[in-house]
């Protein structure tokens, strides 16, 4: 090979290398521009509020797009939460004014009557007055509990505790009321002496009280059985009654604040008990479950974590 040919080959390959380098640089430039443009479009779409993750391939760009979608969905959820909170506050104020209007109007009316009656029949009117005041008092107390629970002023302090004392407390509180109504109240606390779970005793008693209170209220014949079912990870406290039961389409609604079933419109109550019970259990990492059909009684189960 002559030195001439060698230098020509070297020269040519040099040119080729240069060309290749230029092409690669150009391609890289184009790809990079395309990626950047795509991201730019994504962000623009996000600003305009019509962003959607459309690419599901293994490229980095698609992964970035997906992360952005996740981020936006989190932000959106938070904004929706704030809006929902505001809506809740509004409806709460509306509910409070609605719930307090009647008792206050009645109180005023009976006070007027009392002024006019001058010594006759005072006892009867006073009883009516007392009744209204009690209603108002119950409602306000429930509200206070609720707001303390919701704002976290009274944070629950779940700790490992025995379940049996809860049941005994319930028996003491409600035995007389059940007897007066002519229904039985069976509390099976004997066989669960050793069973413990992680819960806040005071608030959990409140939750259980609400269930037993409801059970007595909505049972005319038969009675109520309270029992404990221990599982490996959870403990279930069950309140079973033979009362009017709950229609399936209402199973979710009964936990809503101020929800009252049409079927029980004649019974006193404001629709706070079950809401409170569910909130208490939620804060204890537990939950509540209902099995019921109209006319066949209801079984409410409170599930508490063991630890």
């Amino acid at each position: 090979m002559t030195p001439d040919r060698l230098s020509v080959i070297l020269f040519l390959s040099g040119i080729l290398c240069l060309l290749a380098a230029i092409i690669i640089t150009l391609l890289d430039f184009v790809f990079r521009r395309r990626s950047l443009r795509r991201m730019n479009d994504m962000i623009q779409a996000a600003i305009d509020g019509n962003f959607q993750a459309n690419n599901f391939d293994e490229s980095m760009c698609a992964a970035v797009e997906n992360r952005l979608a996740e981020y936006l969905s989190v932000t959106e959820t938070q904004m929706a939460k704030v809006a929902a909170e505001q809506e809740k506050t509004k409806s709460l104020i509306a509910d409070i004014s609605h719930q307090t209007k009647t008792p206050i109007a009645n109180l005023l009316l009976y006070t007027e009557l009392l002024k006019e009656e001058e010594g006759r029949e005072i006892g009867e009117t006073a009883a009516l007055l007392e009744n209204q005041v009690r209603k108002l008092d119950f409602f306000i107390q429930s509200l206070v509990k609720l707001s303390r629970l919701e704002t976290g002023i009274l944070a629950l302090r779940p700790c490992k505790s025995e379940v049996a004392p809860l049941l005994e407390e319930v028996r003491e509180q409600y035995a007389v009321r059940a007897e007066e109504k002519g229904i039985y109240l069976r509390v099976l606390s004997e066989e669960v002496r050793e069973v413990t779970a992680r819960f806040d005793p005071k608030w959990t008693l409140e939750a259980l009280d609400n269930l037993v209170d409801n059970a007595i209220k909505y049972t005319q014949t038969g009675g109520i059985t309270v029992r404990v079912k221990p599982y490996e990870l959870f403990v279930c406290i069950e309140v079973a009654d033979t009362g009017i039961g709950v229609a399936e389409e209402e199973h979710a609604k009964i936990y809503e604040r101020f929800y009252r079933s049409m079927a029980v419109a004649h019974e006193p109550g404001v629709g706070i008990g079950l809401y409170l019970t569910r909130e208490i259990l939620r804060q204890e990492s537990g939950y509540i479950q209902l099995a019921s059909k109209p006319g066949e009684g209801a079984v409410f189960s409170m599930f508490l974590p063991k630890d």
Binding site: Q52, A53, N54, N55, F56, D57, E58, A62, A63, N66, R67, E70, S73, E76, T77, A80, Y231, E232, L233, F234, C236, E248, H251, A252, R282, S285, G286, Y287, Q289, L290, A291, F303, P305
Partner: protein, 221 residues
């Protein structure tokens, strides 16, 4: 906010004489954060429905929209990736990878996606499901209930838009079932997850916020 919606979803198996309408125009809407149970007897079409919702099989006609995306407009490969990112599955037979330990199983979907796992979040899940002491065990050495708890953790780990559970307690005794279901309920509540659970068992369905009944390929209301 609607997270899952089906429109006139139909699935026909076979043709002519042996034609079977497994799904016959199902319209279903699930809101974000809801726990919905789909109840039906065997042959009612509930498993077919779950396969459609999860993009595991394509419908004959109709659409499924998950998190604002009509999933059957995606190509097969795109659909696979969509599933990995947006849908968490919990199966009756757990479907864990036997050669991986518990921790690796939980992280698998996140790692497949090339994402960095959110450590604090994953630890919270593991703690809530009571798996902290089992992380180094191979999944084969766990009891059924424990395996299903790992599967729940795995489904939650990738923060999917929706979790689909197909008879999650089908292979468990009734006592263990109650525990696993309780955990599913509590974790769903805690991490605001949307869950759709398929079951033939009415008692299990009571756990959900809402029960949808399916009969002869159609939703009964």
């Amino acid at each position: 906010m609607t997270i899952l919606q089906t429109k006139d979803l139909k699935k026909v198996y076979g043709s002519g004489e042996s034609e079977v309408h497994a799904l016959d125009g199902v319209n279903l809407t699930v809101e974000k954060g809801e726990f919905v149970a789909v109840v039906g007897t065997s042959g009612s079409g509930k498993s077919t429905l779950l396969h459609m919702l999860g993009g595991l099989d394509r419908p004959t006609s109709g659409s499924v929209t998950v998190d604002g995306k009509e999933i059957f407009t995606l190509k097969d490969e795109e659909l696979t990736i969509f599933r990995r990112r947006k849908i968490g599955f919990i199966f009756q037979n757990y479907n864990l990878v036997p050669v991986l330990n518990v921790y690796e199983n939980i992280l698998l979907p996140v790692q497949l996606d090339g994402g960095t796992p959110d450590k604090a979040y994953i630890e919270d899940i593991i703690d809530t499901l009571g798996l902290s002491s089992k992380l180094n065990n191979l999944s084969n050495n766990l009891s059924g209930g424990q395996q299903q708890r790992v599967a729940i953790a795995r489904a939650l780990a990738s923060k999917p838009a929706i979790i689909l559970a197909d008879e999650p307690t089908g292979n468990l005794d009734s006592k263990t079932s109650q525990d696993v279901l309780s955990l599913l309920k509590v974790t769903g509540q805690k991490f605001s997850q949307t869950i759709v659970m398929i079951t033939h068992n009415e008692a299990i369905a009571q756990l959900a916020d809402r029960i949808v009944r399916i009969e002869d390929g159609n939703v009964k209301s």
